[in-house]
């Protein structure tokens, strides 16, 4: 196991103070902070190796290409993909999912087909499919929460088993919710989808940073995640796709680098993965992303998840002692990543609660950064019959002291709003 206090030393931003208070950063589901090794890699790239990749023959360009492709190999190992060709760099998870929707989706989804997502989806793994279904006349279905109170906030696997048939062409679900922190046992869903001949896409934006992922074990056809939530720079996303499927897909964006031969009226496409990387990519950030992956690998993703769950268990136990707090989370902490969403309600005046924006504002005045809002999961908010939640999300540098600071901030909110 690692010591979060030691880890804090590697993150320059955590030394910042606001009005004399140290920064307590609990918005990691949004984006993580960056260790010095990642920041240094960015500077080093621009001061030592900057050149465009894949084309020029001079040494500098060779260095840049090697560094860029080196990250691809690091990603391949990180998720245990079989082939380098299966790792495509995009801008972010959203772009990775849209790539699949616009290429595989438009060629393979037709009227009468079914696409299934879950009630936990972030807008980025809902809207592309919702719009594709509208355009093609396909049906969009949503895996609901389980009715069993013991399994609150977890997906209903039985519903999926009962509602799946041969019309299912795509199962697109998240591996971990950005709102409730629920970890979805995606392997079980993938196996059922495959038994009906469907293709699967896993949104790993919240999971790749918090738990080990083995795409060969999962056997998923696609998997998408972002660098910036896992210590890396913004502007880099990954799409994993099985080589056999990627080969049959048409390109997403056209232009430089993605072509083999261009004639005035005809073109042919480059090999995988470059067929899907048109134009000059985000070289520097991809290069620096490698350091983020190395950092996480050194810690061990099993340890990261164990650390998350320790903090979540501690948070839940402290929140349980505050009667005004309503937590939106699975009962079993072992089914959660490091996210705790909650609301504050006024026990003496029902209906008059403190809005999560006001909660987040008062947290800020205490030096604690959290998120208040719908977390880009509005359909989930509708299901829960709430407008928004306040969300704490943890990462490797967070400690129980950070949770204590959050609890003190909650007390300040209750006091300010005279909620009792």
């Amino acid at each position: 196991m690692f010591d979060p206090k030691t880890i804090q030393q590697d993150f320059p931003i955590l030394a910042r103070e606001f009005d004399g208070r140290r920064l307590v950063y609990l918005d990691n589901a949004s984006t993580s902070q960056k260790p010095k090794s990642v920041i240094d890699a960015l500077t080093k790239y621009y001061t030592q190796h900057n050149a465009n990749i894949h084309r020029a023959v001079y040494t500098l360009a060779e260095e840049a290409t090697l560094a860029y492709e080196g990250t691809r190999e690091e990603v391949r190992k990180f998720i245990n993909a079989k082939q380098l060709e299966e790792i495509i760099f995009t801008r972010n998870t959203t772009e990775s999912i849209n790539l699949v929707a616009y290429t595989w989706g438009t060629e393979n989804i037709h009227a009468g087909d079914t696409i299934i997502v879950s009630t936990l989806e972030h807008h980025s793994n809902l809207v592309p499919w919702q719009q594709l279904a509208k355009k093609t006349g396909a049906t969009l279905k949503v895996i609901p929460f389980s009715d069993d109170p013991e399994k609150a906030y977890t997906l209903d696997l039985e519903w999926f088993r009962k509602n799946v048939d041969s019309s299912l062409k795509l199962l697109a679900i998240t591996q971990a919710s950005n709102t409730t922190g629920t970890i979805v046992p995606v392997k079980e869903f993938i196996d059922i989808a495959h038994a009906h001949g469907a293709v699967t896409l896993i949104d790993a934006a919240q999971s790749a940073s918090h738990m080990p992922i083995d795409v060969q074990y999962l056997d998923t056809d696609f998997l998408a995640f972002s660098s910036h939530k896992m210590l890396g720079p913004t502007g880099v996303g990954v799409l994993y796709g099985k080589q056999s499927i990627l080969e049959k897909m048409p390109p997403f964006l056209f232009g430089g680098d993605m072509i083999r031969e261009v004639h005035q009226y005809e073109s042919t496409w480059n090999d995988l993965p470059w067929k899907f990387e048109a134009g000059t990519p985000n070289i520097a950030d991809v290069v620096a992303f490698r350091e983020a992956l190395r950092y996480l690998k050194k810690l061990g993703l099993d340890n990261v998840l164990a650390h998350d769950q320790e903090l979540v268990a501690y948070t839940k136990s402290r929140l349980a002692k505050i009667p005004q707090v309503v937590v939106h989370a699975p009962r079993d902490t072992k089914q959660m990543t490091g996210i705790v969403s909650f609301e504050l309600s006024n026990l003496s005046v029902p209906g008059l609660s403190v809005h999560p924006h006001d909660i987040a504002e008062i947290f800020n005045s205490e030096g604690v950064a959290i998120r208040g809002g719908h977390h880009c999961a509005q359909p989930l908010m509708e299901k829960l019959k709430i407008s928004s939640t306040a969300r704490m999300s943890f990462y490797i540098y967070n400690t129980k002291e950070d949770v204590d600071a959050a609890i003190d901030a909650i007390k300040k909110v209750l006091e300010t709003f005279h909620v009792n």
Binding site: V349, L352, V354, H355, P356, H357, D358, E361, I362, S365, G372, G373, H374, M381, S387, S388, T416, F417, H418
Partner: protein
């Protein structure tokens, strides 16, 4: 300085003119998609003197953060019984002054939801 001054909390927890009004002349709603603040504003205009229409009644409904709801309550209190011209004269600065607390960029949207709703209502009234 504290954003949650007593006057804001007072308006938030005891909103003035909250609820539906009888025979509204105009009624419209708006939301702040970023945080889910919602407001619905209704005005009853007495145009007996067409040169000087009067806001005979004002009512609002809504949910959201303290800033968005308090600002709406303050506007309603300010404009009840006043002339339409007084409503025209309300500016963003009027809202900031009424709230009287420093607002971060992110919260300006909350504070001005009621303001933009009022201005939309005034434009629609002109076209009625």
């Amino acid at each position: 300085m504290d954003m949650y001054a007593e006057n804001i909390l007072d308006h938030f927890q005891h909103p003035r003119h909250k609820g539906a009004i009888i025979t509204p002349t105009i009624e419209l709603e708006d939301a702040n998609p970023l945080c889910g603040d919602k407001l619905k504003l209704a005005l009853q205009i007495d145009s007996t003197n067409p040169k000087n229409p009067v806001i005979k009644d004002i009512g609002f409904e809504g949910s959201g953060c303290a800033i968005s709801q308090a600002a709406m309550s303050m506007i309603a209190e300010e404009l009840y019984g006043k002339n339409l011209l007084d409503a025209e004269n309300i500016t963003k600065e009027t809202i900031y002054e009424m709230l009287g607390v420093p607002l971060s960029t992110a919260r300006v949207k909350c504070a001005l939801l009621s303001y933009s709703l009022l201005k939309k209502a005034l434009i629609l009234l002109k076209h009625q």
